[in-house]
């Protein structure tokens, strides 16, 4: 899933200051799972804003809604009839949802309510960590299902650097060395001989470094 983190309330206050009526829009997918932008967080943010502006003696109306997703036309359309009532929208979806909303409702200011961080997993409640950088050319088949691009600090493709110590990465003792994990798992799978193969120089053109990307699937296009 896409993992997001909460934005400091002060930042959001700065964005919406001066508006009279705003809509906070949550998203029922990834940001709900990572507890940054679901229905619950929409409610908490709305109350905090109402409270803040009331204390400041400013009148602001804050409405709430949570859509199934903000990255699909279908669900974003649900607010078409009400959007014009609002001076601005704060979207608690990931950056994708915020932008899709802004594209759709061109004349309405749309503000991001979360910091979108990465594609990752829930390790345990309250702990999320990165697993994929969407490089567009997956090599997990070669690396025992562990991604060195997203998990090795240096994105090394041919084994650990000299800084790997006791299974930990040189940048932090709280971070597993991705290459230690890869080697351990290759051993477990009895495939350690594959480690001998030199990974070819990576084609980064399919990654974000190659420019903004698009997937077009003629077979499913309507």
């Amino acid at each position: 899933m896409i993992v997001a983190d909460k934005k400091p309330i002060e930042e959001i206050i700065d964005m919406v200051k001066g508006y009279h009526k705003i809509l906070i829009v949550g998203c029922n997918e990834c940001v709900t799972v990572c507890e940054a932008g679901g229905k619950k967080e929409v409610g908490v943010l709305a109350s905090a804003l109402r409270m803040y502006f009331m204390n400041e003696g400013e009148k602001i109306e804050v409405d709430e809604i949570t859509l199934e997703r903000q990255c699909d036309h279908e669900y974003l359309e649900e607010i078409r009839n009400s959007i014009d009532q609002y001076d601005a929208v704060v979207s608690l979806a990931c950056g994708v949802g915020v932008q899709f909303m802004a594209e759709k409702y061109f004349g309405t200011p749309v503000y991001p309510g979360v910091n979108t961080c990465f594609m990752g997993v829930t390790e345990e409640r309250g702990v999320w960590s990165e697993r994929c950088q969407g490089c567009g050319q997956c090599i997990l088949d070669k690396t025992a299902g562990i991604c060195p691009i997203s998990r090795c600090a240096k994105r090394l493709l041919n084994g650990p650097c000299g800084g790997s110590t006791q299974g930990k990465c040189e940048i932090s003792k709280d971070l597993d060395c991705a290459w230690q994990l890869i080697i351990d798992r290759l051993k477990e799978l009895d495939r350690l001989d594959e480690y001998e193969e030199i990974a070819p120089i990576k084609d980064w053109s399919t990654e974000r470094a190659g420019g903004p990307r698009k997937v077009v699937r003629e077979d499913v296009r309507q």
């Binding site: 120089i201 990576k202 084609d203 980064w204 053109s205 990654e207 470094a209 190659g210 420019g211």
Partner: protein
Amino acid sequence: MTLKEKIASRKFVVLGEFEPPKGADFSRLTKSANQVKGRLDALVVPEMANAVMKAGSLGGCAFLNAQGFETILQVCCRDRNRLALQADILSASALGISNLMAVSGEDIRFGDHPQAREVYDLDLMQLLEILSNFQGGRDMAGIELTGAPAFCIGSTVNAGAIGGALDIEIENLERMVEGGVQFAITTPVFDLHRFQQFMKRIDIEKVAIIPTVLLLKSAGMARYIDRNIKSVSIPSEMIREIQKAPDKLKQCIKTAAELITHLKEMGMAGVLISTVGWEDKLPQLLDAAKL
């Protein structure tokens, strides 16, 4: 007089573009530079123009500097992060390079290594910020340097922008000037009327504008550029003249020389002559332009 002094006093400067080779043999670079020794104020050494891998600007400048040429280093955001950029700028200063141009760089996909990762850790405005910190004796992290470099700083400007794009270009140029840019080299100029419209928007007191004069090689090349490069337009009359000339090379040189003369008459701060591989024709061109 150094390039910096000439630019500051708005004396007409003549610059030449000298691409380092794709390879370790720099002898051709030396040979072509020596052919015009004493006739150019400085040599601009591009940093992997069009994202085509070759020897870099720093190496080229250091090499030419050692042979007594004044050079202009290109510092490019595309391939280096903030550490590498700062390191190169310090090295350049220590190697005696005193002029530099901050550039964004063409996209990697246009070049011969499209699978490479682009860097763009900093953009042009941020790179200029580093340079100004540097001249104040501090690096980007605010740490004091042992010895602050001092450069005459330039950049590029798209003289072919029109409409809204021109407004943005002018705005950006103003920002760059505030960021310390003293000269700006333009995209190749052929259409003087269009160029005059561009110049009307510039405060030449604040920044020295140095148009690029590109030595055409054929009518075909001219037509290609005119059709495919948005920022450059070439008058059809100019193309026709090359096409019907019995000696095409002579006509191409005449065209470039006339452009230089006109630009000088217009009061421009100088010209950059770009010959894209035809550096050996530079002496002839300089003769024709009486430089």
